[in-house]
Point group: C2
Chain length 440, copies 2
């Protein structure tokens, strides 16, 4: 193993050993301090910014006429279910060419790949280029304070481009980059029809909360998945020819995905470009859970008193997560469903998509292609969500994601790992990007 | 306390001490043996009939030109949740004029009330009248073997009338009797849309099982509770003038019930006779539970792979529980819902209603009125279910329920109890019924 890999492994082991689970508020201050220490070690000036949830690690330094900003996070998902881990989640273990542990990829490994790329740049070119880091501690719980942070610090954070937190190679090993993330808003629907659970013989005269909630949910979309809430699509920005071209150029793996997921057909029978449009560039509604009454074996003749469901809406530019609960309430009222309460669970994240015509997008693509020796896949938008919008909005700069992952990293799951080969190549691509961006 | 109450308490304590929980297959053989011993002690010949689940205790004896058959059960509901019991569920405790413990009312107390009434009859009149007992051990799990038992033993069981297992006084202290029980069939609906749970970002292209199940459930009934499955009401026997008259005569307590249940309005705004018809004499659909995906605090961006719901249909004469699953499947198919599986959980119970014109119905009513000194309320049908149909069908005899309970017995719940005063008066009413039936 090369010295730069050995050093990366040692640092990653230190980061993984800190159980920075934001959902449980654990070890976040220690995580922030360790990240600041690593960035100081690189030659940057680091500071912990307080007042926005767990400390935000900010760092800057280096020389150059332009500035590149890196967004990462030091918090991780809970390790549950613990019994499915083959080794301790908070101890880095090397096995079969990979580093195992919670956060090895998401996002401690990605963060270290940026640090190592900068170190390699410095060794090779004799100076550190002008970079900034924003490393937050609550990405895994929806980054509730990041919008305010970026708004407050926009002058400090000023940069010509943002490198987003993750990326890598696809299932076929092709490198990819992405220029956007969907927005999200998470809601709960609740209905109560009686003061307490009743014997189901009273169902002849007393309303059933499961019926009420089922009626509400089935009114929200059609058979093909199209959302039926009036006004829901009003702010959806039409795709540009460049975005459509990028969507068309994405390798079509719908059939493989169907087999992997055990799915008969995709919603509305979507295939080819329509499939890519839906997955990457259209909003949708999910029901994440529905719970009411008895769920054990056999039967229980109960009439439940209440029911609840959890929803998330995935949004695309220029939909506004703050508008969605009101639209939903209006729709339910118009359907005569007055007894289903809409509770906002998380403030939500705005959708974001960088301008594909921006030179930085092409620059990242070329850096990947020069490193991997093959065509890189450009996703105008990923199907997932993240706090990219405040950077685009306040810094007026594009954000592009590339990284060191692959589809099998088991992000958020037991046995999360990072393949050493992916780390090596992804880091070299980041180095190439630095060289291109800073013109050396 | 009178000697007959002291004796009843001692026997009830012995029965309650046996944790005859049929759902857990516990102590059933001991329960059956104890019941047989008590019936032998009364002077009857008892036998344990095997081959129909837990032993059915059969007993007969006494003299008379006519035979009265008693149906009871020795099994009980599980005691859970245990921590809500103020005293041990399987130890009879006397407190504030009541006997506490699982089964004190349902159905060990009811069974003993019949035994004590017969003992009193024997003491008073010098002989035991001609009676039979069928005491089963799986009433609380839907009496799956009782229909076959009654069919096989119909010659042995022959009787002119059947005294059903339970009854008592209503919330206002008025005695009541009932001549029928609804049928029931319990089903599970299941849908699976993928091989495993996915990240909810895939909800843009992959079907959601909660939507599918919500759509199915909301298609089953209308806003007012009327079942929309074609053919569902076809076999419903129109109410006779006598039945309508009885329904009209039931004291109207809809407003009190609304307040107790915390319900804004009953289904379809039903009141007065319509309310009684719906509750006591119309079939209905219940959803007992719906479970899928995440149900914990906050959010989880998951797309569940499967969803399930539990339903029960309450049936009235002459609906057939065996027909319902087929009707339901046909309805779902006709709605284009091909992916929701219908699984029958329990074979079901047929609805039953004795002919209100039968003299035995009037005889029970008069026995109650003579004992209580006030008008008794006659329910043509109770909203609940039970295995009454095979007795009506195979013995061609009416079955009428009366007993020793009140609405606060906490049947099936923690702190089940039997008020001693109810036991006393109910037993005297049973004695009066015996005297009237056997003409002494």
């Amino acid at each position: 193993m090369s010295p730069f890999l050995q050093q990366a492994k040692a640092l990653l082991a230190e980061l993984v050993a800190l159980p920075t689970v934001s959902a449980e508020g654990k070890a976040l201050r220690e995580g922030a301090a360790k990240v600041a220490e690593i960035l100081e070690g690189l030659g940057l000036s680091a500071a912990l910014h307080e007042g926005y949830g767990p400390p935000v690690v900010y760092a800057e330094g280096g020389v150059g006429e332009r500035t590149l900003l890196f967004y990462n996070h030091y918090d991780v998902q809970p390790p549950d279910p613990l019994d499915l881990w083959e080794t301790d989640p908070f101890t880095l273990v090397e096995r079969e060419g990979a580093w195992y542990g919670r956060g090895t990829h998401d996002d401690k490994g990605e963060f270290l790949a940026r640090v190592v790329a900068l170190r390699l740049f410095k060794e090779k070119h004799g100076f550190l280029p002008r970079v900034k880091f924003v490393v937050e501690g609550e990405e895994e719980v929806g980054s509730p304070h990041l919008e305010a942070y970026v708004a407050d610090k926009k002058d400090l954070l000023r940069a010509e481009a943002v490198v987003w937190e993750s990326g890598g190679v696809d299932a076929k090993g092709r490198p990819y980059l992405y220029a956007g993330l969907k927005g999200i808003v998470a809601l709960e629907l609740r209905v109560r029809t009686a003061a307490f659970d009743l014997h189901s013989s009273y169902g002849a005269v007393v309303e059933n909360p499961i019926y009420r909630l089922s009626k509400a949910i089935s009114s929200l979309r059609d058979e093909e998945g199209r959302v039926l809430i009036p006004g829901f699509y009003d702010r959806v920005r039409p795709l540009t020819p460049l975005e459509l071209e990028a969507l068309s150029a994405i390798p079509n793996e719908a059939e493989e995905l169907k087999a992997t997921f055990g799915v008969r057909d995709f919603l509305g029978g979507a295939r080819d470009l329509e499939f890519h449009q839906r997955l990457f560039a259209e909003p949708c509604l999910n029901v994440n859970g529905f719970h009411s009454g008895y769920g054990g074996p056999g039967t229980k003749t109960v009439l439940p008193a209440e029911a609840m469901a959890k929803l998330d809406f995935r949004l695309v530019p220029d939909q506004d997560p703050e508008e969605i609960p009101g639209l939903l309430r209006g729709h339910l009222e118009a359907q005569g469903i007055h007894d289903v309460e809409v509770v906002v669970l998380e403030r939500g994240e705005r959708p974001a998509r960088s301008d594909l015509a921006h030179p930085f997008v092409r620059l990242v693509k070329e850096a990947l292609e020069e490193t991997f020796g093959e065509k890189a896949v450009l996703y105008p938008n990923m199907p997932g969500s993240g706090p990219m919008h405040p950077f685009l909005h306040h810094l007026k700069a594009p954000a592009v994601g590339l990284g060191v992952g692959y589809p099998g990293n088991r992000v958020h799951s037991p046995n999360e790992h990072l393949r050493i080969r992916d780390f090596e190549r992804g880091t070299l691509a980041l180095l190439r990007l630095l060289e291109r961006f800073f013109g050396v």
